[in-house]
Amino acid sequence: MKIVSIAILGKKNNPLYVYVSNEENKRKFEYIIHTSLDFFEEKVPLISPLSKKSTQNQNDMYLGHLFPTEDYKVYGYLTNTNYKLVCIIDDSEIKEQEMKTLLNNLHTILVDTICNPFYITDEPITSKTFHLKILDLIGKK
């Protein structure tokens, strides 16, 4: 599994943090991340507590595989506070549990960052520590 991009989207679907392994393809990944919001919206009613059709575990914020592209796979994670975590990997086989763990860890890092009193809510995350943690998470540090 090669993580090519990680993105954190805010409550209002605005990008807070976008990591791209290859800067040349940044634009392409941004399109993919933006498109992934469609699939978040599609999947959110299924796990909404208000929805009667809820089939998944409501506490499970991991949305799984959102959609494929010709070269990549996009995975999603929706926090209870409506932050959206997007992870794009290359089109190789991956265990769901691995991805779940990765996104859970990402969520933990995000929570730590948001709890920082110097962070302004819904503003882009510019913390270097956060960036280093992300690099550490995906094994690029």
Binding site: N14, V18, R27, E30, H34, T35, F39, P68, T69
Partner: protein
């Protein structure tokens, strides 16, 4: 789709060879013949025969190429499965020998060592033939036996032209069976060869080829399931080929062919899901062969682009019902078009990269030779070159990137030239000489081949001279032949054999039998040829790049993205943002194609979405493109719009770029355009985050934090322009969060020169005229001068009576014509004190309002008004100076819900909707009088709001408002009633003890009107003879006691006292009522007396405003409690606890009606036109109302005492106590006697008595006085046992005067 090779696109049909040029159209009339393909051969010699080669099975043998270029075409177009020859049926009899010879020849020709052609000899029987069929059948059988024709190989058929249909059907069955047999046998043979000779694991390439061929044969005979099986096996074998063993691209390309073969078969079987799965699997597998992200991977990108596009087109051709419900992204056709478009984009970039890299060489190349070959893809997928796209591309790569040169795992020739020999040979086919040979043998119908060859001739003209004849290169050992170990001469797809491990010696081998063809000798391919081949490869590269350069990438990208857009739009999967993303790509593609107008339109639409979503990075890119669009189109306004937005910090434009854009913008603004002021259609946000907009600064000031309802809120709005030129504005709109302020009074704007920050001259601000209008309002040609402060002062009038808090004020300034508009929002955070609007009850205002237009309003009316009568209001408008005539004066009324307003002349009701009257002009020094009437059905006071508005063409320009309080009342009197037993009138008792039998009812009247009221008569009519009025009297207590006729201080009158008892009584009994007359204060008392005596009925009491008049009635209520009130439910004598409360002790009733008659006589001084009306309404008015209820109380047991007034010391005195039980039950009484020092007495100190119902008991005590003087009686107290209440007497202390005893 069209460029996809025909042999791959369509399922193969069995090929039938027809020998000779007989007119045989009649024979193939059966409809099922379209399932077959036909090949015309002039004679049997043209039948392609397999090459004779030595097959040396070896485990180390590997193919130089996976599938040969012409194999598919060869078997589709050149190698027939069944041969048909036609003879006349007559020849069976006449020329039997010739026929026998011909059949023998055909039989020998078709039966080769490795391939068993089938044949059918058809004898056409003419209609006029005299011989019977039976005779001919016999002849046929004889020939069959003689020649020994095996039915598996061929057949003889007598075709009767009489029965064409039946014969045709039979013939088709025979041909079809033989054809199927042929392909089956071919398949078995191939399968047997490979399974017997080669190792599956070690030589997967051979098995790939073998299974592919088996698949083809199965497909040719219509067995799609078997074909799928073989193609699948072939594909699996392909994947097992070492990835560096062959050209990666070739593997990929063969995989592509196999995959699409399987997909087309699955789609034919309507297994769409399976087809998608195969494609998905193929794309995943093919990624192993591709190094993504490398710009040199142009060929891979082309294949990827093509495969996605092709698959999308294949899916699109399926009926829509099969793909109606999209649940998966992979099922979406748009996805494939989208992917194809993405690859197309990458392909474009890659080709650019390569062209730049080889720019020098490329420029020196003779590009003219490529001109005719505009589209390389067409070239690749040309019928002749279909499968070998990979070979050409591979060659390009081979020269391009030697690092990726495949290393032979089987240690073949390590040189590129050797490995690529197969491809070289294919390429060599393009040379003119080989083509000439080929064209001699191949069917002449192959026009495309010719064209291609011709074009390629030019390309290779110079380079292939040395190698063009070296097509056939055979190795000593392993034969790189067709899998069946031979090749067909006539197909001219010569194998190039190589693979000599130890030496580069290439043997020249004359291929086959050189009969009719001018075969060229095969040149040696040694190391000396390498440079030539490389040169050839380079030439191919340039050819390739040239075609890429000529290819319209943008058009292709737009086409694919547009298709994806359409598919996504039509499909059910959620794709809102995806569509926006695709739209952006389309817009960029249009931009790159220099279609700026359309690109601009698209960018404008898309940017809204990203702006809304706050995707600033995306917006930034779009804005940059938009900016360039504006620049290219010379659309300065659009350019400025984009430039301004780009300068917003949050957009994220780098500082350097921002400075450049700002410079451009300022330069553009400074340039004079048609007008001398700047009119950009800019919509820019005036926010804090927009520092560039210091160009125009906007502030709002509010004078008051708290505003009262109907009180103007004054605000100042200032604009400073820092632009180099003046700006034209024509509109300012100020909006609050709630639309409570719908009217605005605005002072004309003032331009103040600023020095540094603007300084305002307050005196100037106060001047000028007011304009009354509604927001938004417009300024014709208001021009903001540069560096000058323009201040507007507004007065806002709230029209709503709600409590509100102004959360934000939005100011929109704009020029309607040019579209200039900027918006500025003020939030409470930036306002020092937020504005609270409060609603207070309306305050009484003066009736005259001074207006700036020198118009005064005067309102007059009599107060109060009478209900159900027309109450007049006079409104006067005075103009002291000007003659105002250009508009209408409108008078609005509001808050008249309680009453109705009528017009003066028409008496038409002015409803709430049409509550206005208007008049047109006011002459100078003249007054307009407007009278309205208000009629109210109910009493009370309410407020009338009167708005006087001057209306002219420009709108509502002036306004005046007055509030007028109107009171309506029934009479002009206030009544109050109280009851009393004492003379103290101030004491109001409502409880009357029935024991005392009488009480006073006091009626007070106070006048509230300035008009004197004359009361004629006051009557009290008691209800149901509740009692009797014992006496009546009245008293008028005005401030100065002007009732001179009433000298009685007490003002009591006795019953039936007709004459004035005290000399001044003037009360006359009239039934139960009294008639009163009090003379007017101006009249003489004496006259009054005489008049009273003469005509009491005609006179009345006059009450002025503030005066009070009182009337007293002495009433004896003896029938308050009816007989039912004392009734017991159960007539028991003994007391019952449950019935304790039955005895009604109190009752509250109104005792009667009071009727007052009055008349109003004095005139009212008003204007003539309604005074008359007012006077007419003087009539006797009668007022009737009930008295307030009086509570009557009665007791169950009463006590009375009887004793003498004096006594003598030592002499007994008899004292009697009477106890009276009023109830219908037994009453127990406790008796307590206290000791006394003045009297002697005997008996019980404590005793209990029982009183029977309605009984009276007399208790007699005898007291003997001991002393003389005024002595108090001993206290004897009686308690009611039931309630423990002390029975009281009216007198509290009893005394007796005791005289001394006589001596």
């Amino acid at each position: 789709m069209e460029i996809y090779p025909k042999e791959l696109r369509e399922h193969p049909k069995p090929l039938i060879g027809i020998i000779g040029n007989n007119d045989i159209e009649e024979v193939f009339q059966h409809t099922e013949f379209h399932k077959l393909n036909f090949l015309h051969l002039k004679e049997i010699e043209e039948l392609p025969l397999p090459k004779r080669k030595n097959i040396l099975p070896s485990d180390n043998y590997h193919l130089p190429g996976l599938i040969k270029a012409k194999w598919l075409k060869k078997h589709r177009d050149y190698i027939p499965s069944v041969l048909i020859n036609f003879f006349s049926a007559n020849d069976l009899i006449n020329n039997e020998k010739r026929i026998t010879d011909e059949i023998t020849k055909i039989k020998q020709k078709t039966k080769t060592k490795t391939r068993m052609y089938k044949f059918v000899i058809v004898f056409l029987q003419e209609t006029n033939n005299t011989l019977t069929n039976e005779t001919k059948e016999e002849k046929l059988n004889q020939i069959k036996k003689r020649i020994e024709i095996d039915s598996k190989q061929g057949n003889l058929f007598l075709f009767s032209l009489k029965e064409k249909k039946m014969s045709s059907q039979k013939l088709f069955t025979i041909i079809n069976d033989l054809s199927e047999r042929f392909y089956r046998e071919e398949g078995r043979r191939v399968k047997k060869n490979y399974s017997d000779i080669y190792s599956k694991k070690a030589q997967p390439d051979l098995f790939t080829r073998g299974n592919f061929k088996c698949g083809f044969y199965s497909e040719a005979r219509g067995d799609y399931k078997n074909a799928l099986k073989y193609f699948n096996r072939s594909y699996k074998n392909l994947l097992e080929i070492p990835k560096r063993g062959f050209g990666l691209l070739e593997i990929r390309m063969i995989g592509f062919v196999l995959c699409f073969k399987m997909i087309s078969l699955q789609l034919s079987l309507k297994n769409i899901g399976e087809a998608i799965f195969i494609f998905k699997q193929y794309t995943n597998n093919s990624k192993a062969y591709v190094q993504r992200g490398n710009k040199g991977e142009l060929e891979n990108l082309i294949i990827s682009w093509y495969q996605y596009k092709l698959f999308a087109e294949m899916l699109e051709k399926i009926p829509k019902t099969s793909l109606s419900k999209k649940t998966n992204y992979w099922e979406s056709i748009g996805f494939y078009y989208h992917a194809a478009a993405n690859y197309s984009l990458e392909r474009k970039n890659s080709s650019k990269f390569l062209i730049q890299k080889y720019q020098k060489e490329f420029s020196n190349c003779d590009l003219d030779s490529f001109n005719k070959n505009n589209n390389m893809i067409d070239f690749f997928f040309n019928i002749d070159n279909s499968i070998f796209l990979c070979q050409i591309i591979w060659r390009v790569r081979n020269n391009e990137d030697k690092q990726l040169e495949p290393k032979s795992t089987f240690k073949l020739n390590t040189s590129n030239t050797e490995l690529s020999s197969d491809y070289e040979s294919e390429n060599d086919n393009n040379n003119p000489e080989s083509n000439s040979n080929r064209n001699m043998n191949i069917n002449n119908n192959d026009h495309d081949n010719k064209k291609t060859n011709n074009t390629n001739n030019k390309v290779n003209n110079n380079t292939n001279k040395k190698t063009n004849t070296s097509d056939k290169v055979n190795n000593n050992g392993n034969d790189d032949d067709d899998d069946d170990g031979h090749d067909d001469e006539h197909s001219n797809v010569e194998d190039n054999n190589k693979n000599d491990r130890n030496s580069n010696l290439v043997l020249i081998k004359e291929n086959g039998k050189k009969k009719k063809k001018n075969r060229q000798t095969i040149s040696l391919r040694n190391k000396s040829d390498k440079s030539t081949i490389i040169h050839n490869s380079t030439q191919n590269l340039f050819c390739f790049l040239y075609s890429e350069q000529q290819f319209n990438h943008s058009k292709e990208i737009i086409d694919l993205f547009t298709r994806a857009y359409k598919c996504y739009s039509q499909e059910a999967i959620s794709s809102e943002r995806l569509i926006h993303s695709i739209s952006t790509r389309i817009a960029i593609a249009y931009f790159q194609q220099n279609e700026f107008q359309f690109a601009k339109l698209l960018f404008t639409l898309i940017s809204k979405h990203f702006r809304k979503q706050k995707w600033w990075n995306e917006l930034l890119k779009i804005l940059i493109y938009s900016l360039e669009c504006g620049n290219q189109l010379d659309d300065y306004n659009y350019f400025a719009n984009c430039a301004l937005e780009l300068c917003i910090p949050k957009i994220g434009l780098p500082l350097e770029s921002r400075i450049i854009i700002q410079d451009k913008l300022f330069k553009m603004i400074s340039e004079p355009k048609k007008n001398n002021y700047f009119k950009p259609p800019i919509k820019f946000l005036m926010t804090k985050d927009f520092p560039l907009y210091d160009l125009i600064d906007c502030t709002i000031q509010f004078t008051e934090p708290t505003v009262y309802f109907n009180t103007p809120l004054i605000s100042k709005f200032s604009l400073i322009s820092h632009l180099p030129k003046a700006i034209s504005l024509d509109q300012i709109q100020i909006l609050f969060n709630l639309p409570v302020y719908d009217r605005v009074i605005m002072k004309s704007p003032i331009n103040i020169p600023t020095k540094g920050k603007g300084t305002q001259n307050e005196e100037e601000l106060k001047s000028k005229e007011y304009i009354i209008t509604k927001s938004p309002f417009y300024f014709p040609n208001l021009i903001l001068q540069p560096n000058k402060l323009t201040v507007f002062t507004f007065q806002w009038i709230a029209s709503s009576a709600k409590k509100i808090v102004v959360k934000a004020v939005r100011v929109i300034c704009g020029n309607k014509e040019s579209g200039l508009c900027f918006e500025w929002v003020k939030f409470p955070k930036s306002i020092n004190s937020p504005i609270y609007l409060k609603t207070f009850p309306s305050r009484p205002t003066t009736q005259i309002l001074q207006l700036p237009a020198n118009i005064t309003i005067d309102i007059e009316s009599p107060q109060p008004g009478l209900i159900n009568e027309y109450f007049p209001i006079l409104i006067k408008l005075n103009s002291n100076q000007d003659h105002i005539k250009n508009g209408n004066f409108l008078i609005y009324f509001k808050n008249h819900e309680k009453g109705e307003i009528y017009h003066q002349n028409t008496k038409d009701l002015l409803s709430k909707k049409k509550n206005k009257i208007f008049f047109k002009e006011i002459h100078p020094y003249n007054t307009i009088n407007q009278v309205l009437f208000i009629k109210s059905p109910i009493t009370g006071s309410f407020q009338l709001l009167i708005y006087v508005i001057y209306e002219h063409k420009l709108g509502y320009s002036q306004i005046s408002k007055t509030e007028y309080n109107i009171k309506f009342s029934k009479p002009f009197l206030k009544q109050y009633i109280y009851h009393s037993l004492s003379k103290d009138l101030s004491k109001d008792e409502t409880t009357v003890l029935l024991d005392k039998q009488f009480f006073f009812l006091n009626l007070g009247l106070i006048s509230k009107t300035p008009i004197p009221i004359n009361i004629n008569q006051i009557d009290l009519i008691l209800f149901d003879n509740i009692g009797k009025i014992l006496s009546k009297s009245f008293n008028s207590k005005s401030g100065e006691s002007k009732l001179s006729t009433n000298n009685n201080q007490n003002n009591f009158f006795k019953l039936n006292d007709n004459e004035n008892e005290n000399g001044n009584g003037n009360v006359i009994e009239h039934g139960n009522g009294i008639e009163m007359e009090i003379e007017n204060e101006n009249e003489n008392n004496e006259e009054n007396e005489s008049k009273n005596n003469d005509d009491n009925y005609k006179k009345s009491i006059s009450i002025k405003q503030g005066e009070k008049c009182e009337v007293f009635f002495l009433i004896n209520p003896y029938k308050v409690f009816g007989p039912d009130d004392n009734k017991l439910k159960n007539s028991k004598i003994l007391p019952n606890k449950k019935e304790k409360k039955i005895f009604q002790t109190s009752k509250k009733v109104s005792i009667g009606d009071i009727k007052i008659q009055m008349i109003r006589t004095n005139p009212i001084k008003f204007y003539s036109y309604y005074t008359d009306y007012w006077k007419k309404k003087n009539f006797a008015f009668e007022l009737t109302f009930k008295t307030s209820p009086v509570e009557f109380v009665r007791r169950k047991v009463t006590m009375d005492i009887d004793y003498p007034s004096n006594g003598i010391v030592g002499h007994p005195i008899t004292c009697a106590y009477y106890l009276h039980n009023h109830s219908d039950r037994l009453q127990k009484i406790w008796l307590k006697v206290e000791q006394s020092e003045f009297f002697l007495y005997s008996g019980f100190n404590y005793s209990e008595l029982v009183l029977l119902p309605r009984a009276i008991r007399k208790l007699i005590y005898i007291f003997i006085p001991k002393k003389c003087g005024k002595l108090p009686f001993p206290k004897i107290q009686f308690f009611q046992k039931e309630t423990s209440q002390l029975l009281k007497e009216s007198r509290k202390n009893y005394h007796i005067f005791v005289s001394p005893s006589k001596k």
